[in-house]
């Protein structure tokens, strides 16, 4: 077990290094010039040169990369071209909003997926199964921005239950935080939930047809006991993996939802950095996304082997 963990961590470090090199190159390959953008249309050459030099962009790309990676190794991700703030600070500032939204979305998704997926599997081709299929199909196909806007119009506009947009920090006002969280979390949760519902359904179906379930039934175990002890435990195991992936996806920022709800998370930060060609922030954000994916994958794998001893051995 420890051996596996050490090996996986080492692998992760190599992957991270690869990601940094790739990100740096890709970011610099994208057309568009951050200095030109910062100056806008009213641009004059001497100002341009001064700004470019200040940002270190007059240096060769290799020099820029070595300087960046050198600092990154010591935990210094540089400063934003746009605001002059340290990248680490910008990311840390956005983290609570993103983590709140990602966790709340996963809760919403699981609240939909586990009951609906299980119920559908228990009665395949029933009305409920059909309902589940339709709902998850809608959830997967409807664009998030449209869903978000509809939720805003109904629950913020017409009913006035929740704020139309914005984020309230938990430390400032826990209740306001919860209220601001509901609509964006439901929007992303519906999408993730739809994916997870389909997954739960097929994995419960599979578990139901397993030999040991038939044995359990044959020896006279009640339906509830069979479901709890023999079906769900096995069926939900793969769900851990998929949930982990969904969580990583949510943590790396759900850009569209963050824009619609003015949610100041990492997705919005990444988008703004792309638009502004704010290289340091973009590199920092991508690096963080890579770390999140790697760590969550690692945790899921380790958790998995813990839950299913067959894998560890």
């Amino acid at each position: 077990m420890t051996g596996v963990a050490v090996r996986r961590v080492l692998q992760a470090v190599v992957v991270l290094l690869g990601v940094s090199v790739l990100t740096f190159l890709l970011v610099h390959l994208v057309p568009g010039d951050p200095v030109r953008l910062a100056l806008g249309t009213r641009f004059d050459q001497s100002t341009y040169d001064a700004l470019r030099e200040r940002a270190g962009l007059d240096q060769p790309v290799l020099t820029q990369f070595l300087s960046w990676i050198g600092h990154a190794l010591t935990g210094d991700l540089g400063v934003s071209f746009r605001s002059g703030d340290p990248v680490t600070l910008l990311i840390l500032e956005r983290l609570p909003a993103t983590v709140s939204l990602a966790l709340a979305s996963i809760v919403v998704a699981l609240l939909i997926a586990v009951p609906l997926g299980t119920a559908s599997a228990l009665r395949p081709r029933s009305f409920l199964d059909g309902f589940g299929t339709v709902v998850s199909q809608i959830g997967i196909s409807v664009p998030e921005f449209w869903m978000g806007i509809m939720l805003i119009l109904v629950f913020a506009g017409t009913l006035g239950w929740f704020p139309a947009s914005g984020y309230v920090p938990f430390s400032q006002d826990p209740l306001g935080w919860a209220r601001s969280l509901v609509l964006p979390a439901v929007t992303t949760g519906l999408v993730s939930g739809s994916v997870l519902t389909r997954f739960t359904r097929s994995s419960v179906l599979e578990a139901l047809s397993a030999e040991h379930v038939r044995t359990a039934r044959a020896k006279g175990l009640g339906p509830r006991a069979v479901l709890n002890w023999h079906v769900l435990r096995n069926a939900l195991l793969p769900l851990v993996t998929v949930t982990g992936v969904q969580l990583a996806y949510l943590l790396s920022g759900v850009v569209v939802v963050e824009i619609v709800f003015a949610w100041p998370g990492l997705g919005l930060l990444a988008l703004q950095s792309v638009q502004a060609r704010d290289y340091p922030v973009l590199q920092g954000a991508v690096l963080l996304f890579a770390v999140v994916f790697l760590v969550l994958n690692l945790v899921v794998d380790l958790l998995y082997s813990k839950l299913d001893p067959r894998i560890a051995s």
Binding site: G32, T41, L128, W161, D173
Partner: protein, 516 residues
Amino acid sequence: MIAVRRRAVLAALSASPLVAATACSAGEGVDTGDDTGGTSGGSGGGAFVAAISAQPDQLDPHKTTAYASFQVLENVYDTLVVPDGDDLSMQPSLATSWETSPDGLTWTFTLAQGVTFHDGSPFRAADVVFSYRRIIDQDLANSSRFATVADVTAPDDQHVVITLSEPTPNLLSRIGAFKGMAILPEGVDESTLATKAVGTGPFSLQGSSASEISLERFDGYWGQAPDIGGVTFQFITEPVAALTALTTDQVQWTDNVPPQKLADLGEDDSVELGKVASVDYWYLAMNCAKAPFDEVEVRRAVAFALDREAITEAAKFDTARVNQTAIPQDSKWYYDYAPFTTDVDQAKQLLQQAGVSTPLTMGLMVTSEYPETVTAAQVIASQLEPLGITVEIQTEDFATWLDREGRGDFDAFMLGWLGNVDPADFYEDQHRTGGANNYQKYSNPVTDDLLDRGAVEPDEARRKELYDQAAKQIVDDVSYLYLYNPDAVQVWKKGVTGYQVRADKAVNFDTVALPS
């Protein structure tokens, strides 16, 4: 099994209404606004909440070029002079009066007394010198506004002398027309200006986060103290969300209004709609350094083929006015000249004269950053079709767009110039041979001469004549193909008083009062 299923379904179904119920019963009041008011310690009048569409990139007034930053900074910083809200003529602000030497080369400003910065330090002439020198010496974003400034000195605490290398009749609008020329206290820690603002304005910066910036009333303000306790700017990109926030009292003001919603808003009794002709203009420019657009007949042919009314209607509904010169009708610098009527036959003749054979392909570069350019381009494409010109619409993100514009890598592009006040702002950098922003590479010695003389002409009537002639030349040569001047459109809650929509889109909340 049935029991399990029922419970599971119930859990799923009740999830959102349950949360909704708790959230709802916990308080109907909207907390965002009250929060700031409560903590700001303002002694009367709550905080005013405004929704703007983007987050300011930074708060250093000398470095930022973002409109979102200036929306906030407008309320925090002062300039020596300031445009009047009605006609944009320059009025005293931190400078109470000024004198110009007979040769027009020396301007002496007398400064207001009893003015204090937000950090408590008194305002003196040295602060003006420090601020202007900072822009000039460090080549900051607005240094070109000081292109003719030879020196800035402070003979005493109350006077500032600006010496010029050539007469600059529009000096006042150069130093006052926008907050990029703000006055900072001498010796301020420049490294913190991106996040901490220290001005002399009616509001001081209280705090900022990734989702909002809050200002509080500055009790030491030298002018009329604001009625409201502070202003919170929330960043809401999505217009539907911004409007919903307004109608549900989450915010009291926004300028993030989609044009197609204006008709509905006009009928909504809970909001007020403010619409004023702005000093912005939108245009199409063809590459004068690239065949066949280097031929003036070709550019004129395009100008004759377009129906500006239709383009404007599609891009802006009824929130813009068609214009064939740059300067809007309400400006005292307006010049009534509109030589192009939609006439495809004449356009075809011009193409023939130029010896250009059709079909001809014209790449038209637009940017998703300004969706109205994308919409307008589609109409333009359909209007140029009968002429035998196939328009290839190239939609770029703004960074790429600017990059291509700078490199001259285009047949034609569309964009706007925002916040112009003086005629030099409208024409000089854009149309002078080799001008800093003459990306279309237009060059005509007649225009150059007129612009040069206009720049230094002290007599206003004479100056207008020179710019009128320059405008005529520019329009005839189709250096820019002018399309329209948009309105500044802003909405606020019914009952909010004292707010004025301005042609330069400067957003001032110091005179605003909330409904009692």
